[in-house]
Amino acid sequence: MTKAITLSGLRKTFGRTAALDGLDLTVETGEVHGFLGPNGAGKSTAIRVLLGLLRADGGSARLLGKDPWHDAVELHRRLAYVPGDVELWPNLTGGEAIDLLSRLRGRLDRRRRDELIERFDLDPTKKGRSYSKGNRQKVAIVAALASDAELLLLDEPTSGLDPLMEVVFQDVVRQARGQGRTVLLSSHLLDEVEKLGDRVSIIRHGRVVQTGSLGELRHLTRTTVEAETHRPVTGLETLEGVHGVRTEGARVRFAVDGAHLDAAVRRLGEAGLRSLVSHPPTLEELMLRHYGDELAANGHPVDGEAAR
């Protein structure tokens, strides 16, 4: 497979803030790549460097085999972008904004545009200012997905969408992937990326701290388990890979490393399971594995409890 995006050692500073501090990222052609990180990690900055809107201070960036700064216009015809903060023109309707952005990119596929407007339940006759946040977001999503771009750069595209619309969005992205398009999807939410993504990169302080398929990452991380049993569970603490056990009567809650989940659940079964809820590791938990010490040093709770 060829690479759709290759960033290596990318650096970008704003005054004294290093927004990107040696970022390495590879996105294969045809994959949906999740780009995860907390606020201020540098996700938007990286995407804007890829768009040639910002100029990197160091490192190298290749997008579809070209230079994002010098070949910006040529590349922009082949990609579509949904910004994190969608601002519309107050005196243009949503429909006009969609057409405008599509035409400026190249071709407007009216059939596909109308279909998407329908699916996202968007009123294209409203003026920019009168859209709610979620609806502004939809305008940008429709404009991006109505194109036949081979690469989609989506910066927190679902922020502001309601759960129903999130489902529609996931569906549309899956469809895009089915057509062989490449998607870079930035997000705070692991479960969103999980539903769509092939691989994930986690970024923090302008650097990628973890890259891999979700299966691989999950294996490295802890699942939170909450269970209710007939008899009190004993000896959980002694099991390898189990952390932070808390018992309240018949209820027990603990975190367990991916590799040891099986043994822990067996032990619960011995005590007679009444109910069982397990949470996949959240982004925070993935992050905490890497930065727990740092957070603890700052006086934050670090245990599995910190999540959710």
Binding site: S44, R48, L51, L53, L54, R55, A72, V73, H76, R77, L79, Y81, P83, D85, V86, E87, L88, W89, P90, N91, L92, T93, G95, E96, A97, I98, D99, L100, L101, S102, R103, L104, R105, G106, L108, D123, P124, T125, K126, K127, R129, S130, A140, A143, L153
Partner: protein
């Protein structure tokens, strides 16, 4: 001074009242401090700039016209409608002391500039904040419904009063005979009153429209109308000037008659206008204008899908407003042309002076002088148009467009073409208004093409203004408002240059000073070609800078 209460136009200063009644003003003091902090460079720059300009002018009239004979001769030369239209009421000429010169020549100018300063301050702290969405955040805190507007008005009042005080304290300190304390106090108060009045006008304008720039434009149009009315009144020596608050303030005759009472109607009007602003603000939602937005077309016409189409669409509202305003302004001046010849026909000295200027008739020199004013007002449009791309960029609306197949040059180029066309179109509108009214009032049909041509001769100067604004934007985006220097300088130099006998080089520094003074002077293509080249170079510079820099993203 009573002005403090008027400034906010509401029952702000009522210390004895229970807290509840001022709930809508909760947080005003904190916001005022915040606004003043944000303006800690701007306000001192404006106040010192205007104050020093006035003090320097007072000093130089003293030096340039030392004897009574000198003053009598300038008074004599100022009696024509052209000079009166630019300056103020003819009554000042009766005893043209240094103080009277100041009142006559500078009070109108200061009223306009203090008005401009106040309008920009108010719109920056109200509508611009709403437009950016920051106002919502502020309003959600323990801040009353009226606090933002009250704080913005108070900020403008601080600036206006500081300017008034600087003038009142500075003028008597110069040691120029006749610039006494009482007159200086009145002079400062009249200037401050003009600022307060237009701050109040801005308080209404920002309620009406959703866009800060349009709101500023609206308030400045009122300012322009007030100036134009007094100009028509003073030039025609009819009662029209009494329809303009600037006319009232000029009739305080500081250092001459020291009349205080015209301040009263001005301050009362300011208070009433400010109160109307507060009342209107309760009739709308945060971020919204007075009219609810209506649905529009679900699809875009093909032309919109081009950078130029988008730019023209974004510019067209303001452009339409300016074109109409300049058409009317031109028509107003044009309608005075017929009188210009008949008035003061027998003042030989004046005729001689005009002959030296090369003007064939009084009407021609009047037209040349007023067209310069009109063109400088047109430059205000040129600057506003080139502030557009900056607003698009900081609002985050440039980002999605520049992520499509539009190049940086294409995007900025669209705005540049729209601004170049628009700034030419406003001149054309002014020329048509001037020409039609001029032809009618003089009964000379040939005046129409001559006057339209004379107005269009300023087009290259407009293009330089656009180019300058674009170059600043391309290289130093945060400094884009420096583009205001071009019309401000042209205005000040056009106003004061002849009075202070400033070296002509200073006037030539402004692109508008380079343009041949048609129809009084002969046509000269060389400076126009040179200006066009300068504009082209500035635009090339702008594009080079914009292609090179980071986008200022939020």
């Amino acid at each position: 001074m009573t002005a403090t209460t008027t400034a906010t136009g509401t029952p702000t200063a009522a210390p004895g009242r229970p807290r509840r009644s001022s709930a809508t003003l909760a947080g005003t003091a904190a916001l005022l401090r915040f606004d003043l902090r944000r303006d800690r460079v701007r306000i001192p720059a404006w106040v010192l700039g205007l104050g020093l300009l006035t003090l320097a002018s007072a000093n130089s009239v003293h030096a340039v016209y030392p004897t009574a004979a000198d003053r009598a001769s300038i008074a004599h030369a100022s009696a024509g409608p052209a000079v009166l239209a630019m300056t103020g009421p003819g009554h000042y000429l009766a005893d043209y002391t240094w103080g009277a010169m100041l009142g006559h020549r500078l009070l109108g100018l200061l009223a306009v500039l203090a008005g401009l300063m106040s309008v920009l301050i108010v719109s920056r702290h109200t509508r611009a904040e709403e437009e950016s969405g920051r106002a919502e955040l502020v309003r959600s805190a323990a801040v009353g419904r009226h606090a933002q507007l009250a704080a913005a008005l108070a900020t403008a009042a601080v600036a206006d009063l500081a300017l008034g005080l600087l003038l009142a304290a500075g003028l008597p300190g110069l040691g120029v005979p006749g610039l006494d304390t009482g007159g200086a106090l009145l002079f400062g108060a009249a200037t401050a009153a003009a600022g307060l009045l237009f701050a109040a006008v801005a308080a209404v304008a920002v309620q009406v429209t959703e866009h800060a720039r349009t709101a500023s434009g609206l308030a400045l149009a009122v300012l322009g109308a007030a100036y134009a009315l007094r100009a028509a009144g003073d030039a025609g020596a009819n009662g029209l000037a009494w329809a303009s608050p600037i006319g009232w303030l000029q009739r305080t005759y500081p250092f001459l008659d020291d009349r205080w009472w015209p301040l009263l109607p001005a301050l009362a009007l300011a208070a009433a206008t400010g109160a109307a602003g507060f009342a209107l603000s309760t009739r709308r939602d945060v971020g919204a204008g007075l009219r609810a937005t209506r649905p529009g077309p679900p699809t875009a016409r093909p032309f919109l899908g081009t950078p130029l189409g988008l730019a023209l669409r974004l510019h067209r509202g303001l452009l339409g407003g300016f074109a109409v305003a300049l058409l009317l302004l031109g028509a107003m001046y044009g309608s005075l042309l017929g009188n210009a010849d008949s008035m003061l026909k027998d003042v030989d000295q004046l005729k001689e002076a005009l002959a030296r200027l090369g003007g064939r008739t009084l009407a021609d020199s009047f037209a040349a002088m007023t067209l310069l004013v009109v063109a400088v007002v047109g430059a205000v449009y040129a600057v506003l148009a080139m502030l557009r791309p900056r607003a698009e960029e900081t609002a985050g609306r440039a980002e999605p467009v520049l992520a499509t197949g539009v190049s940086r040059s294409g995007w900025l180029g669209g705005h540049l073409v729209a601004a170049l066309l628009g700034s030419t179109a406003v001149l054309l509108a002014a020329g048509v208004g001037f020409g039609l009214a001029g032809a009618l009032s003089t009964g000379d049909g040939g005046a129409f093409p001559r006057l339209v041509g004379a107005a269009l001769a300023f087009a290259p100067a407009q293009w330089v203004t656009v180019g300058f604004a674009a170059a600043v934007y391309g290289w130093l985006p945060r400094a884009t408002p420096l583009a205001w220097l071009v019309p401000a300088y042209a205005f000040v130099i056009g106003y004061l240059g002849p009075l202070l006998k400033l070296p002509s080089g200073l006037e030539r520094l402004s692109p508008f000073g380079q343009v041949p003074r048609l129809p009084a002077a002969a046509m000269d293509w060389t400076p126009l070609a040179a200006l066009t080249l300068v504009a082209a170079a500035l635009i090339a510079l702008a594009l080079a800078g914009f292609r090179r820099r980071d986008l200022d993203l939020r």
